[in-house]
Symmetry: C2
Subunit: 336 residues, 2 copies
């Protein structure tokens, strides 16, 4: 099934079931008010949502309405966890190579992962509002899963069974703020602003045979200012499956329902597949000619991230965002 969270003025939005063709939706608030609440009690709630999904697809759902991605918040507008892997090690190797650094061999057999901010996840068509172009604004096209409760120390097999939903992500990155943060060793704080997510989250069965061995075997298509710049296959060159990423995350602690785990920037070794982040393009330029010539995003730029099924239909709906300059800070008159 396909689920979305609609804007209603609240912090967590309103849960809706969306039809397979993304054309209609119906509120699911009588089943569960929010997606987090559904995830909190998934085995009880999911079958009821599935029933509603079947009715909607058969055009038999009461009070259905046209689905508008512009009304979507992130499926989880705020989550209790967002942990992002770097499963496409090819991407990591390219980045290192471009700065003449050796990538540790361990990166091929142990996932690289960082803990991201999850208090303010933004919707698929929300603007990317940032203070300065000087920060080196970049997109990163990724796939992510939402988990149920994953017990500490479980293996990949068990971890994989707790994958509830899948989404697309634009993991916005501020490239010029990354080197000083990485040098400190403590990961990303300022260099990873709010990430945005696809209009709908889908259960793995929606992917059919494209969901195999805990990977999504379909191209992820990224367009920048209207031009397709990448369509690498998310199932190719993914060194760690989602099950393995979740296993890694759960090694020393329980991972609780509603945790989002990302794949990292999708990247294929076959460079003809293009790129899903500008940084990779720039790395290739540096490796080829010593100088990066493609600039990062400017205010006004747009990015679109989408995944189509074998029949050419959008699975998750599209992330379509524009970069905008933050207005100058206005001091509030009094402590709120």
């Amino acid at each position: 099934m396909k689920l979305a969270t609609l804007k209603d003025g609240t912090r967590d939005g309103m849960l809706a079931v969306v039809s397979r063709d993304l054309k209609t939706a119906v509120l699911a608030d009588t089943i569960a008010p929010t997606l987090q609440r559904a995830l909190d009690d998934w085995t009880f709630i999911a079958p009821q949502l599935e029933d509603l999904y079947l009715q909607l697809n058969a055009d038999r759902a009461l009070r259905s309405f046209a689905f508008d991605p512009k009304q979507c918040m992130a499926p989880l507008p705020r989550a209790f966890q967002w942990a992002d892997g770097s499963a496409y090690v090819n991407h990591v190797e390219l980045v290192r190579k471009s700065r003449n650094a050796e990538m540790p061999a361990s990166f091929w057999h142990e996932p690289l992962m960082y803990q991201g901010a999850s208090d303010d996840l933004i919707g698929p068509t929300d603007d990317i509002v940032l203070g300065s172009e000087e920060w080196g604004i970049d997109f990163e096209g990724e796939v992510a899963v939402i988990t149920g409760d994953v017990p500490m120390g479980c293996d990949a097999d068990e971890a994989g069974k707790q994958i509830r939903l899948l989404m697309l992500v634009n993991d916005v990155s501020l490239r010029h703020l990354i080197p000083p943060e990485l040098a400190k060793g403590f990961g990303f704080v300022q260099s990873k602003p709010a990430s945005s997510f696809s209009p709908v989250a889908v259960t793995p069965d929606e992917l059919g045979s494209a969901w195999k061995a805990s990977k999504v075997h379909l191209p992820l298509r990224t367009s920048w200012n209207g031009t397709v710049v990448g369509q690498p296959n998310a199932g190719v060159d993914m060194v760690f499956s989602f099950a393995q990423l979740v296993e890694h995350l759960a090694k020393t602690r329980n991972v609780r329902a509603g945790s989002i785990v990302g794949s990292g920037t999708v990247s294929n070794k076959d460079a003809s597949k293009g790129y899903t982040c500008i940084a990779e393009k720039r790395c290739l330029e540096v490796i080829a000619g010593g100088v990066a010539t493609t600039p990062f995003m400017q205010f006004g730029d747009t990015v679109k991230i989408e995944m189509l099924d074998a029949a050419g239909k959008s699975i998750f709906g599209a992330i379509i965002q524009q970069v905008k300059q933050a207005p100058p800070m206005i001091k509030r008159g009094r402590a709120a």
Copy 2:
């Protein structure tokens, strides 16, 4: 006022107001069911909770009961953000010195901070359940704040106004897993298991004159297996105030209500004040004699972290935890 979250079998627990002397409590569920819900609408909810707090302190609250810290979850059992600073730069310098590494000078004027996991924050008397003593189990005594909504790019003055509550933290750390994770640059994932928090969260006014310039000017007392090992003053040698830590966090993104921001391990330059994490003690041993002799925690060990006011009364209640071995993983029969 003082607020606690009581165990009721749900994921988020039940909000209670606790008396200043920590002796009695009263459910606040008719005002706000959970602490997060109170934080979501603080300006409306807080005055109602304050009224109840006044009644409770005057012994006029209906249906009050004896307050038992064992019934407490973390004030926020799951939070949308846990970002931990390293404001006691002295501690960072000692760690570096013990491994003959130079600390970058920038650490004195820009906060070091990492994004931590917040999906499973544990209660003040919950066991620290871990898989192996070989991981190098350590406690870290800290102070933390909970924020309201902090707008992107605001200054420390504005950020400080959004500090709603204060807590104590035991930021459990797995010392032997840290070096390989830090070497990758992506911060802590496996080396920082679930953190635990004090029985109550308190509004800054509860600290009286000890809350000054956005720092807590009181000793933080840590006991290990019943022996006091540290009582450094949290207001001394704190290079970055909580307001500055929140400002740092909010540089490139909006920080949403219910975000927890930690001080990092409390540490004074005056070594006679002892230590609030074993790693620091071991660093001092290495610097003095070349070898760390104090072992990390073993299964069965206990740690107690508390802060007393000038009159010797506990402000937050005590974190009292025992380290226990995780039972072997039992595979569940079917996908949940």
